[in-house]
Symmetry: C2
Subunit: 319 residues, 2 copies
């Protein structure tokens, strides 16, 4: 019988869908959030867990860990165009865990939640050998404004919020032993794109959306799978994080094939692109067109050297 490591995270989710998925769900298992019909709205629900050995970089503070896990949950709500309304936390901790660290985790959680105007409304604490923190966030989105992974259409513009390669650069520096506090801060104190998701949703012109926590290329392939379209990405248009741009041998890897940048990737009907960009500008936010949705059978990257295949690689658990 196969093990999890033989399948990887995404095939494991497919496997579970085979057992659990129901035709009647408004959003099929596998999107950024689950959804429940609620009058004119959907209640969005997303759950995330981080574990000490596989997720938390050495040198991270308890405060940063608390902030991070709330933030990554909110990123999933953002990707569906939702407004977050609450969050619960289940913490599995060793008996020897000290209360000073717990206080810092709680402070990090609380400050991230306040930043986005919601509350930690409850939770659970249990004893374990390994630290494991599980957060579940809820949000609301009007039914006719939900952003899904499906919906991208040929001719749409594909764009991304913020900058690319910040997480990749930070991990690269940590691996080289040059990371320091700044690199860890970049990785953990992320700012979920709640306002950007709400803008994309409200304009009505976004046709699909996903967060790129698994990496840009990997997320494009996930949109391909959900929307049955392909992407032509123009490398020169990518909004590259400054420091990553200074590493010419590495920049492609860091910007395209690396997880941890919690930006939103969205496709937009070209008729609405001007409006979307105006709304972003008005709000002091960034949405950069990086390519087009195309019919060709494959995802490609246009560079100054020519056209190459965009690889389907990024971050995946159990692999």
């Amino acid at each position: 019988m196969p093990k999890l490591r033989d399948l990887g995270e995404r095939e494991t989710i497919e496997f579970l869908k085979g057992i659990l998925d129901r035709e009647k769900l408004p959003v099929r298992i596998g999107d950024d959030c689950a959804a429940i019909s609620f009058g004119d709205d959907y209640l969005l629900v997303t759950t995330d867990v981080i574990n000490q050995r596989t997720h938390i970089p050495k040198g991270a503070t308890s405060y940063q860990i608390g902030w991070h896990i709330v933030a990554i949950n909110l990123s999933d709500i953002a990707a569906m165009g939702g407004k977050p309304i609450g969050i619960v936390v289940a913490m599995s901790l060793p008996r020897t865990f000290d209360m000073a660290s717990l206080k810092e985790i709680a402070k990090g959680m609380d400050e991230c939640a306040r930043e986005f105007d919601l509350a930690i409304i409850g939770g659970d604490t249990k004893e374990s050998q390994e630290i494991s923190l599980c957060w579940t966030a809820f949000g609301l989105v009007p039914k006719n404004r939900i952003l899904l992974r499906s919906g991208a259409r040929i001719g749409d513009v594909v764009g991304v919020t913020g900058e690319l390669g910040k997480a990749g650069w930070s991990e690269f520096m940590i691996k080289k032993g040059k990371g320091g506090g700044k690199a860890i801060e970049n990785l953990l104190k992320i700012h979920p794109r709640i306002n950007e998701g709400l803008l994309l949703s409200k304009t009505g012109w976004a046709t699909s959306c996903i967060d790129i926590s698994d990496g840009l290329a990997s997320s494009l392939y996930q949109l391909t799978a959900a929307s049955s379209v392909f992407f032509e990405i123009d490398f020169d248009r990518l909004p590259i994080f400054d420091e990553a741009g200074k590493l010419p041998d590495k920049v492609k890897d860091l910007a395209l094939y690396h997880g941890g940048d919690y930006e939103l990737l969205a496709t937009v009907n070209p008729k609405g692109l001007d409006l979307v960009q105006r709304e972003f500008k008005k709000a002091g936010k960034k949405f950069t067109p990086i390519g087009a949705v195309v019919e060709d059978k494959g995802n490609t990257l246009i560079t100054r050297k020519g056209i190459e295949k965009l690889e389907n690689k990024g971050y995946e658990h159990f692999r």
Copy 2:
């Protein structure tokens, strides 16, 4: 600086409340579920995590584990009088975890969810050293029908659903090496009292409610803390599980001071007791009065030998 083991679970929750709690929350942190205002209803949210080493008895099947964690979540919804509407799951699993076990866990989850007419709507899978399963369930309850831990009034009748001591007896048998499959099944394949909670809520006569997963005595003390009242429990009226009743030296411990019976403990206005009992009978369910809410400063147990102090002990994590 103190460690978790110095405080125990309930003090740890108090500690976290100090950082996280907000005056504006409709239900304060520490009740069975958190609540978010939602038109005429509350959205109830509860999250629970179980970890391999501390929670799962040896010999438990993957199917039973899957069933159990869905069921304990639903028990928290039941304690607030809610109707469950969905559940999400975050699974932390070792890379070497086999897919056959994962399939059985998913089957257990799915069958428990179907039994109570809801769906597993999404989740997360991550890599870890230790198996850790985190479930979050949500439900709905009309605002004027929510059951809280606070609200018990002097003169109310206190009663309990189902039977007491089944979990205690099962663990006792397992410890003696006589447990076998039946005892493990008793502990894990529990039936959350959703219908009972809905009945208590709908009649409008229940004044407070809690699930007794930490043990009957411990739960009475939690109602005392939330409602500022005391209880006089009549040992002879307790609906004792048959097998536990056959162990006269043990029965008090098993029925009062042992966690794992996922029954509901509720206080009921005496004017409505007949109606509540009629409604339960009509539905083929059991609600047994076991004592009274009193003014005296202390929780007591009336036995044939006299009146004794009810001890504040039961199951608590980190202790």
